[in-house]
Amino acid sequence: MSGASFVEARRRVESKDRSRRDKRMPVERAAELVRDGDHIAIGGCLYSRTPWVTLRELLRQRRRDLTLSRNLLCYEGELFMVAGAARGIVTSWAGIGLPWGLSRIVREFVESGRVHFDEWSHLALGLRYRAAAMGIPFLPTLSMLGSDLLARAGARTMICPFTGERLCLVPALFPDVALLHVHRADPFGNAQIDGYPHMDADLAVAAATVIVSAEEIVDPEDLRRHADRTIIPFFAVDAVIEAPYGAYPHECYGLYEADLAHIDAYARGVASGGADAVHRYLDDYVYGPETFDAYLERFGLSRLLERRRAAQELSR
């Protein structure tokens, strides 16, 4: 559940094929890289750059016993819980957003013990990914000191040999798989993100297997022209999926705003209908549409284009 050990994590990087090669594949094949029981780190944050195209396929392929980690977990967590795909979450916060209050589903599954909720502070979880990305077994921080999170989460304290003061040590988190959705990638897996990068660059280097979906697959020459903007290196990436609107109904900075009306409808449905409403949503948006294109068609082209215009207006 907590990912690979430090030594194992290094061995997995050493032994995987890190060569520069064409890694494009359909999402159906990419999702096969994920196994039951894996720890999956989800890129983006809340309803920004959520890798829906790949998450949806994991649900369709009925993966089981997954642990999901994410800095702020949005309602994708609810879908995995209700679908019986997740046995644990590692996050600093689980919900949807301020206007929607507590998540009824998270409460049901966590309070009843069906899903384990491993809580870290936002920075502490970020540092766990970063420690892994740096190839070290932990990072020190002043976060979580004095809080009840520290002992419960499994962090440790030490007396700093340089200052003589107490420090919190958070262990590296090496996910089995990272799912990232980016603005553009080349076929080798080099990738760029516009706007806020959240924690994706660390996730890409922390995980043993990395699946990148991209709004656009571009020629390596196009990325080379702005090489200083490329933040995910090909040698970390195992699969590249072409997926315009791949984060929808969540946002992709500069390209489309989140479909808040859709999110609101989902949240209201679940607030009144509970898990049943989530089952219906799974039927309608996950199990029903056979392809990601068919899924997008459920939202309708005009809605997609409207969200794109809204984004263009905002980034002007």
Partner: protein, 253 residues
């Protein structure tokens, strides 16, 4: 002049923000308070948002629901990673941090994790998010929340975010060398912490509120030193600005 609880909280909090400072703000009341301060007495206040935005400028009618969305990034000067945003806090760059919470105790410890015993909670709350980090790293922490007896408890069920912990020396012993909780703003009162005990004390009352109102809604003893003044009510201009910012009253209630 009538106003909602959220409007009152936003105005009261905004008055605590000095110009030329840097405020780490969440969405909702903290962001309203910060933008209001920018529009009135603190034009050079810089807003920082957890999702990865430094120096955004909010558009009226387009306040973000989360700090991780395009509306939060509007006209941002820098868009660092989330981890980086918090590391700047840990390095000491941010003057103010805002916190709310399901439970607050007299030492300013805050719980946003569990109601009831953590291993078998009555309510599993959403969790820390950045709250534990904000309270650990920003220079001054402002707790802003509605004033209810079930919220202001003698001992939080779980310390998600450490305030003064168990009083003098508590933070230091835990290793928290920097930053402190300085003020608590509610719809009933403005409070701070007694330097000797580091317990909460009453500094001022909101307009029309009596001492007994506050004590009835507080689950622990709340001392006051001498006469307790009343805060000035929100001004017309303050309210007009807030209502322009949030015309659909998503956050103003």
């Amino acid at each position: 002049m009538t106003y909602t609880v959220s409007e009152l909280l936003a105005v009261s909090a905004s008055r605590l923000l000095e110009d030329r400072r840097i405020v780490f703000a969440g969405v909702g009341t903290p962001l309203l308070a910060s933008v209001l301060a920018q529009t009135t007495h603190a034009p050079n206040l810089t807003i920082v948002l957890e999702g990865g935005v430094i120096g955004p400028e909010m558009a009226p009618g387009r306040l973000p629901i989360s700090t991780n969305e395009m509306r939060a990034a509007r006209r941002g000067m820098l868009l660092p990673s989330i981890t980086q945003i918090f590391l700047y806090a840990q390095r000491g760059f941010y003057d103010y941090g805002f916190l709310g919470g399901a439970q607050v105790d007299p030492y300013g410890n805050v719980n946003t994790s569990f109601i009831g015993p953590p291993d078998r909670p009555r309510v599993r709350l959403p969790g820390s998010g950045g709250a534990c980090d904000i309270i650990s790293h920003c220079r001054e922490i402002l707790i802003v929340t509605t004033h209810e007896r079930r919220r202001f408890v003698e001992r939080v069920d779980f310390v998600t975010s450490p305030g003064h912990l168990d009083g003098p020396g508590g933070r230091r012993r835990a290793g928290l060398l920097f930053g402190r909780v300085t003020k608590v703003v509610t719809n009933l009162a403005l409070m701070s912490f007694d330097p000797a005990t580091e317990r909460m004390r009453l500094d001022a009352l909101q307009p029309g509120v009596g001492l007994d109102d506050v004590r009835d809604h507080t689950g622990f003893e709340l001392p006051a030193t001498g006469d307790v003044p009343h805060l000035p009510p929100p001004g017309e201009r303050d309210l007009a600005i807030l209502r322009t910012l949030d015309p659909e009253r998503t956050f103003l209630g």
